[in-house]
Amino acid sequence: MSRMLTVTPGRCIGCRTCEVACAFRHADAGVPGRSRVQVRAVAKDVWVPMLCLQCDEAACVKACPVLALWRNPETGAIEVHADRCVRCNACVVACPFGNMAVESPAKAVVKCDVCGGDPACAQFCPTRALEYLEV
């Protein structure tokens, strides 16, 4: 049984707990700006948590000239392999959803990897706008 990180925008209350949870999981400092999920306000009092959708035909994978991105068969998430990435930022530009992030100050390209199968954002989302569901 595979699982998928799902987004239900109608439930998001814009509390940005997911951003903080992500930043604490992935960056030592817990700086929300370094988070791989970003809550976007789309209208008054309406928010959408934006994070990698793990596309089947992923533009980032196609755009990468050095084959540094591939899908982890266990989690189904596309992962950036830092040992191959040369930070050309092709994937950042190619992603139609703008979900590749550049982490400063190292300028490393990062994206959601569903925390290796235990996404912190879904764990802490108080309204289940983000869920890690069996599909």
Partner: protein
């Protein structure tokens, strides 16, 4: 698989592993400046030196670990007197070459060097000739720049020292340079790197100039993705996708529930 000893600890690695990778896998650290895992090891900065003893030999040797293969029975010391002495000497020379580089100064300070014992070269930039920029450019398939000249005149340069015709202005060289020595200026919708001016494409959403036209064309051609994927900057792509999700999933849901 093969076994070797690193700082007295037995380590098992795959055949073909470079010594540097084996050392890092074992949890020890060796400083490097010219190493990047995506690129072929080059052995230029000489900071990754370690002391090795081949099995059956009595003498040890100091070698660069990045391009030295891990082999069965090898004994490796990463902090022996010979290693510390060599590394300090290398940093002393690098500090004399690039007294203005904060990265070099920090590394030198970590071995107790505040000032080089050689006369500092004030006229030079912070290039340490590690070749990372040249190698990443080649790896990306552009090969726009190269190492030119010999001896004291060696430098990273474009062919004929003119603005490189094969450069696409992607900036990978700028980001990979360990001393931050390659200037790149984005201003008024233009990018200047390697003395060449590039026209930037502006995001159709916010108008921010975010990629050079040459790099965009190159990525469209080699990825097979439609050019429309590259029309918006990442920020605008994200905002637009959020809007789309809202309209389809929130407003769409409400309309469906009214019916």
């Amino acid at each position: 698989m093969l076994n070797l000893d690193i700082n007295g600890r037995r380590v098992t690695v795959r055949k073909g592993t470079a010594l540097l990778a084996a050392i890092r896998e074992a949890g020890f650290d060796v400083p490097t400046l010219c190493h990047h895992e995506a690129l072929e090891p080059y052995g230029a900065c000489r900071l990754c030196v370690v002391e090795v003893r081949e099995p059956g030999r009595s003498k040890t040797r100091v070698v660069t670990s990045c391009n030295y293969p891990a082999s069965a029975g090898l004994e490796v010391e990463t902090e022996s007197d010979a290693v510390v002495h060599t590394r300090r000497e290398v940093l002393d020379l690098l500090l004399a070459r690039c007294p203005g580089s904060s990265v070099i100064r920090q590394l030198a300070a970590s071995v107790g060097l505040r000032r080089s014992s050689y006369p500092p070269d004030q006229n030079r930039d912070n290039c340490i000739l590690c070749g990372l920029c040249v190698r990443v450019c080649e790896h990306l398939g552009y090969s726009a720049i190269t190492l030119a000249g010999r001896g004291g005149g060696r430098e990273v340069a474009a062919p004929l020292k003119e603005p490189p015709p094969d450069c696409v202005g992607c900036g990978a060289c700028v980001r990979i340079c360990p001393t931050g020595n390659i200037p790149l200026v984005d201003r008024d919708g233009m990018r200047r790197v390697w003395d060449r001016d590039f026209e930037m494409v502006r995001c159709t959403g916010c108008g921010r100039a975010y990629i050079t036209r040459e790099y965009l064309q190159s990525r469209v051609a080699s990825s097979g993705l439609p050019a429309s994927h590259f029309e918006l900057c990442d920020e605008c792509s994200r905002s637009r996708a959020a809007q789309t999700m809202y309209q389809h999933m929130v407003l769409g849901d409400k309309e469906a529930s009214h019916e």
